[in-house]
Structures are given as C-alpha cells and as structure tokens.
C-alpha cells in the first residue's frame, strides 16, 4: 500500500510540471461529459474561437492566453470537484463557471470564499445575483425573463393557465417570478407543479394538466424534457397553447417532438443579428467551423472570453480585487455579440426579451 501511494505521488508530481510563466491562464468548468455534454462541446468551441482571436491580436499585454478546461460531468458534485482542482492545483484566479444554474450555484460559495472571479455564460437563475461580489454573468437573469413570460401570456389573452416547470434552480426560480407577475396582473394559475429532469415518461404530468382543462400551459423546461412532454401530450390528445422559456428554444426541440412542437410560443433574450459584432462573429465562426451551426449560448461564451481578455489586459495585477475591478471596468459599455455587457451591482447584465415560435417545423421569431 505504501508503495502504491509513493508511485501515485511521483506520477502526480511529474504531471504538474513547472507553471509556464509566459501564459495567462484561466480555468473553465465545463460539462464535457454527462447529460450536458452536447452543449458543453458547443461552449468549448465558441470559447476556443474567441481565444484564437485574442491570441492572434497579441494576447494579454503580449502574453498568450490559455484556457484550462476541467470536465464537471454535468453534475453539481462534479462541478465542485472540478473547481477545487482549478483553484487548488492550477491556482487559477478566474474561472468560467459551469453551465446549469444548479451546478453554478453549487460552486459559487467556493469561488466567493477563495476570492476567485467566476463568470457564467449560460446560467439564468435569479438566485445567482446574490452569489457575491466575485461572481459575474454575461447572460441575463431570469428575473427579467419571468416578467417576459408573464407579459407574453397576457398579451395572448390567456388569463387562466396551468404552470409546470422543471424541478431545479432554473425552473423553480423562473416559475416563482412568472407567478408573481402573472397573478399581480390578475392572472389565475389553475394548477402548478414541478416535473423532474431526465425522465422518459411524463404522462402522469400530462394527465394532471388535462385535469384542469386549460387553454394554455406555461411549460418552463429544458429541451429534452420539453420535447417529451410535448410529444406525450400530443399523443394523448391534449390540445393546448404551449408557452415556454428560453431554455427550450432549440432546433433539437423540433427534431425530437416533430409535429407536437408546432405552434409553441416562447420568450428568449434577444440580440440583434444585424450588428457589426454579430456579423464579424458569424463570419469567424463559419471560417473556423464550416459545417457547424452556432451552438446555443455560443455567442455568450464568445463574449465572455473576449470580455475577460479585455479585463485581464486592463487589470493592474492578478490579485483578486484588481481582477474583479477590471471586470467591472471592462464591462462598462462593452458591446459584445450579445449586446451591452455593462455589469450592474450584482454582476448581472441587462437584456431585451423577444418571442419565438415553431412554424412549419422551424424556429422563427413570433410577431
């Protein structure tokens, strides 16, 4: 036993070679395996595109930037383990946070305690605004989207709905905000319940919806779960207007649910595709990844890396407080691909919410 521990230690020490003083390293807590890996791949590609551009432009004050990717297996425990490695072994002062609000919230306290700057590009839960001074995000909080969904519902003249949401931080948080706004404006919620992630069978939930006989259902959920619910509802003859959130907006939803997704209407944080920033991004993407569509959240990940590079360039040193201040300064008025990235006092950014729909098996903007 002692021998094997000794061998392990030697291997360990050999693997962690001398830190390269020339590069500026940051960490990324990414779902490269597990149920979010299909998104994680896209995030990584977008980040690498941005990284390439940063380094082609001279890097950070002449030094190349490097991103150390650590797989979190799409779980909260994995995210915790990954961030511990990034902080304790690689000693990185800035980390791109894990996707999925629940995973992000699990690592927030660790980053805050260790004064490591943590940035999110996909996490929408309103809770994140309270994470602390070292936490930023380039993706808007759901506090805004909840209002958007309520307004959508009312503008379509549905004042009695059934509400169902995915059983995690994102779904619960968004549902709360929707409820508050919707009922304050006179809307009535006939029934509400959470549905679990990753189930193959949501028929019980569909039946429960049918019990209240609603005309519209607000379904705040992810892509796979959403598709399954839509499909099983369709099969069981449930005909309602589905109102969904941004997490379901994806061609994959249509791919999985087919006919059942037709007519769904939802909200999402919009950014114009006509700006010079967006056009430049699209051109660069098509050049580097010619056969791939821009992945969901790809633009946000790109902005996150570019903004971070700017902040690193502006920072007086790599001390936590200097880095933090640099992030705030860099964000002021920064126009990224996804719009204005000025951070408010909670490290959040603003957003405009648009509407999407599925028409003829395609995701389109809803007028």
């Amino acid at each position: 036993m002692k021998k094997s521990v000794g061998i392990m230690m030697c291997v360990f020490l050999l693997c962690t070679g001398p830190l390269s003083a020339a590069e500026v390293k940051v960490g990324s807590n990414t779902p490269l395996s597990g149920k979010l890996s299909v998104y994680g791949e896209g995030f990584q590609q977008a980040m690498l595109l941005a990284l390439e551009e940063v380094n082609a432009g001279g890097g950070i004050k002449g030094r190349p930037m490097q991103i150390v990717f650590e797989d979190n297996n799409s779980t909260a425990a994995g995210a915790v383990s990954a961030i511990q490695k990034l902080i304790t072994v690689d000693k990185l002062p800035l980390i791109f946070g894990p996707a999925a609000s629940s995973n992000f919230l699990a690592v927030c306290p660790i980053a805050q305690q260790n004064k490591t700057v943590l940035i999110a590009a996909e996490s929408a839960a309103a809770e994140i605004s309270k994470c602390g001074s070292f936490v930023f995000r380039v993706f808007p909080s759901d506090a805004l989207q909840g209002i958007g969904v309520a307004e959508l519902t009312q503008s379509l003249k549905y004042d009695q709905v059934v509400l169902t949401y995915i059983n995690n931080d994102w779904g619960v948080g968004l549902a709360e905000i929707f409820k508050k706004k919707f009922t304050a404006a006179g809307g009535k919620i006939l029934d509400e319940f959470a549905h679990d992630e990753g189930k193959t069978d949501y028929r019980s939930e569909v039946l429960r919806i049918r019990k209240s006989n609603p005309k519209a259902v607000v379904n705040l959920t992810y892509i796979k779960e959403g598709a399954t619910v839509l499909k099983q509802a369709y099969e069981n003859g449930l005909k309602v207007q589905w109102l969904m959130g941004s997490a379901s907006k994806s061609p994959k939803l249509v791919e999985l649910a087919g006919e059942a997704a037709e007519g769904v209407i939802g909200t999402y944080p919009t950014f114009s595709q006509e700006t010079p920033q967006y056009k430049a991004f699209k051109a660069a993407w098509d050049k580097k990844y010619p056969d791939k569509k821009i992945p969901v959240f790809g633009e946000y990940n790109y902005d996150m890396v570019k903004l971070t590079a700017k902040a690193l360039g502006m920072a007086k040193s790599m001390d936590p407080d200097d880095l933090r201040q640099a992030m705030i300064d860099a964000g002021k008025g920064y126009m990224g691909v996804t719009g204005d990235k000025t951070f408010d006092e909670n490290g959040d950014v603003g957003a405009v919410y648009g509407r999407w729909t599925v028409k003829q098996q395609e995701i389109q903007d809803f007028k």
Binding site: S4, Q84, A106, C108
Partner: protein, 293 residues
Amino acid sequence: MDYLLHVMILALIYSVFAMSLNLELGYAGLYNFGHVAFFGIGAYVSALLSQAGVPVSAAMLCALAAAGIAGAVLAVPALRVSGDYFGIATLVFAEMFRLICLNERWLTKGPMGLPGIPRPAWIAPGVDGMPAYLLFTFLAAVGTFVFIRRLTGSPFGRALRVIREDEHMAQAFGKNILLFKVKAIVAGSVLAGWAGTLWAHYISYISPADFTLTETMLVLLCVVLGGRGTNWGPVVGAIAVVFFGEAVRFLPIPQALTRYVAPLQGIIYGGILVVIMMKMPNGLIPEYRRKNT
C-alpha cells in the same frame, strides 16, 4: 500539493464510511445495501442545522444521533428477514430516503441541493482550511478504527462473528440475536452518519444525487476489495477506490475522448467487483483467523 490534500481527505472520509459498513457486513454478516442512507442522513441533518445557525460541532452531534436513531428504526423491522432479502429491504430504504430528499423541496431544496455548508468554526474556509480539515478527518478515521477494533475484539464482537457464521449456534449459546444485530446496525449507522457530516462540511455542497445506488456500490467495492471482516480492509479499499477515481484527472486524455472516462471508470469498478467475487471473495486482506476466536 493542495490537490493531494483534497484526495487524502476524501479517502479518509470514505474509509470511515467503509469501516462503518464493514462493521455490519464484514463482522455481523448483515448485507446492508442501504448504508448510504445513513451517510445521507448525517450529511443532511448536519448541513441543515448548521445552515440554520447551529454551531457546527453541535450540528454534527445531532446528525450522529439522527443517523443512529434512523438505524434503529430501520433495523428492528428489517431484521425480520435475512440474507439477500435484508439486502433488498435496506436498498429500498435508501432509495426511499433519496426520493424524499428529492421531493420535499421545502426541507431539503430538492434536486438543487444545499450549497454553502459552513466549516467548523476552528477551521478556515476554502483552501486555507484544508490542512486543518485533513487533521480533523485523520483523527476521525483513527478514532473510528480504534473504536471498531475494540468493539470487534470485545465479547460483543466475538458474538457478532458467531452470529455471522451460524445463527443457530449463537442462539444455542443463549445470545439475543436480534439485540446484537440491532446494536451492530446502530453503531454502523452512527459511524456512517459521521462520515456523512465530514463529507458535507468539507465539500460544502450536497444534493440527493450524492446518495444514490452508485455510492452504495462504491462503498461496497471499498469493503469487498479491501477485505471484509478485517479492520485494515475497508481502509485499504477506500484509499484505492478514491485515489483511482481522482487520479484519472491527471491522465493526459485527448479532448475528444474525455466523455469516455466516466463510463470506463464505471466498467472497471463493476468489473473489479465481479472479479473479486470470482477469484478473491475475501478481498485483498483476508480475515485472519485466530485460534481462540
């Protein structure tokens, strides 16, 4: 260096957990496949209490008590059946516990879990506190080891082994089998809860996903690999399993293949269980049979 501390802390926590299972499985012959529930009860009770403001030491003690009581509550009815049925009953108990944690959001925050669990007051948060925490878990592991060694060396321990080998003979000697088994389970549950509190306050985040059948399988692997019915066995097993699990992070795996790592690890774990059952059912450290057992 800090990462090595991290892995050692995990290994020590797991060895407490494995030793506690071994008390029931190796010494008393009770196949408690639901052991992870007590780990979870310890973790949740301590986490919830300390987040509500109770000082961590007090929260830990309450958690130990809760785990022990839960153990008794499970033991009395579950011991009506034995052998593999007992295994199933305990396994199902653990799953029921997990479902309750998952659904009772008002209590446990459901699948979102409990982030930001505080460290004990005398240990600093974050990376700075790691050496102190390592000392803490080391003392805990040593304490558990000594406690179990004394317990199993005592008449109580010998009686357990007799019960394990042949219940009827034990009955013939006038032992109240049920009471012995219940005591063994309560002791094992308290220690498992202890491991759970150590885990919760170290990782600072727990959720029902930490207490699944996979964890049951892992701790079973620790005990079976190391050798049941011995004291060093589960410790060796825990160290081996934890180091293997974490060491993989340092292998230079090309980006395209990272998604294969976790399933491959799983295959190896399962495979080891099977191979051990077939070739070395007594594990790496066989039970040493003393002449006057």
